[in-house]
């Protein structure tokens, strides 16, 4: 198990529940980024067996070194436990002068479970806006859609392009809506994506030392501008996910779930 100082804290977990992703800018050292970039260019990667434990994968290569770093292992253990299963990875390549963006999509078919997979997005080189970046839609992870059924949409208020410097890592809920953006430069863009499945109940896996200091109500009430009239239902989605992650079935913010949990039909009438 990784040192607790590398685990996510409660504030980060709450933001993950509200936004569906966390980003860690310039997390990797320059030398390792350059080596990983070269590895991605060469496409030399021995793929692990799907459905087998991920730890130890890509051993002896720059990408193996990256995914064994305590900062990455801490994120992994906080979200999906100590020995997640390898699902798949992909070296994403956007060629130079690519003017069309990818259509918006989720990477999953409709998944009814509270359990979630995570996906790492690793950017080995600087990614300015003209080079694209993966665009993500904050707070879209609980929407029940299937893959590119959302491909008619082009733009949303509060959409966010991963404009970043080399060595940046994003980790996202598997349901997040995203799309590759055009690359208008004369250089090829690389991004490494890795999906992992949990093998343990996702229950209080992070460092909860700051639990009493975090304003959960403010974070879980975050209103992404594209929600429109459905923001309250999204808050219910988040409360449901937080209950799942903490095991606290009475947790609430803003009285939204308490009102629904109140079942007066099931109470016997008090005698006069």
């Amino acid at each position: 198990m990784v040192d607790r100082k590398y685990l996510l804290d409660t504030e980060q977990m709450a933001n993950f529940v509200a936004d569906g992703y966390l980003r860690f800018d310039k997390l990797m050292p320059a030398e390792l980024n350059q080596a990983a970039h070269k590895q991605m260019e060469s496409k030399e990667l021995e793929r692990p067996e799907r459905g087998k434990p991920f730890p130890g994968a890509y051993a002896g290569t720059p990408l193996g070194e990256i995914f064994a770093m305590p900062e990455i292992v801490g994120i992994m253990e906080s979200l999906v436990g100590e020995a997640p299963l390898y699902d798949h990875e992909a070296i994403h390549i956007v060629p130079p002068s690519q003017e069309r963006g990818q259509v918006w999509h989720g990477d999953a078919i409709i998944d009814l479970r509270d359990h979630f997979d995570i996906q790492f997005f690793y950017f080995p080189h600087d990614t300015p806006r003209e080079m694209g970046g993966t665009m993500v839609l904050p707070g879209s992870q609980y929407r029940r859609i299937s893959e590119s059924d959302i491909g008619r949409y082009q733009n949303f208020r509060s959409q966010m392009s991963m404009v970043c410097e080399a060595g940046t890592v994003m980790v996202a809920h598997h349901g997040i809506w995203h799309c590759a953006q055009p690359n208008l430069t004369d250089r090829t863009r690389y991004m490494f994506k890795l999906r992992l499945n949990p093998t343990v109940r996702q229950l209080r896996l992070w460092n909860m030392a700051d639990m009493d200091d975090v304003d959960l109500s403010a974070i879980l009430h975050k209103n992404h501008e594209w929600y429109g009239n459905e923001v309250r239902i999204e808050v219910v989605n988040r409360i449901r996910q937080w209950r799942f992650l903490t095991g606290d079935e009475s947790f609430d913010v803003g009285y939204w779930m308490s009102r629904l949990d109140n079942m007066p039909d099931n109470l016997t009438t008090q005698a006069a």
Partner: protein, 91 residues
């Protein structure tokens, strides 16, 4: 005789009110005068459907409203208030 082509603007509103704020938008130009793709603008071309109508866009489809399917009362999925607008262009 020149054949008109459809230029489609799809606006997703905050609520069924056509005055409400646009939260998402797409453009498909059948005349080929402009190109659009995912993530190509961070601000909508109009703040509301009515504002687009006042600029000459014709609404050709309204979203229908249905009660939630059983089990979906507190779930979210696609954007609900989708208005499709058009302009005809001579090419």
């Amino acid at each position: 005789m020149p054949a008109p082509r459809q230029d489609l603007l799809i606006l997703y509103a905050h609520s069924p009110d056509l005055h409400s704020r646009v939260v998402s938008w797409s453009r498909y130009d059948g005349a080929g005068e402009s190109k659009h793709t995912s993530g190509d603008s961070d601000e909508p071309p109009y703040d509301s459907v009515v504002e687009a109508m006042r600029d000459g866009w014709r609404v050709i489809q309204f979203p229908q409203q249905y009660p939630a399917f059983p089990g979906m009362e507190y779930r979210t999925s696609y954007l609900r208030y989708e208005y499709i607008l058009e302009q005809l262009k001579e090419i």
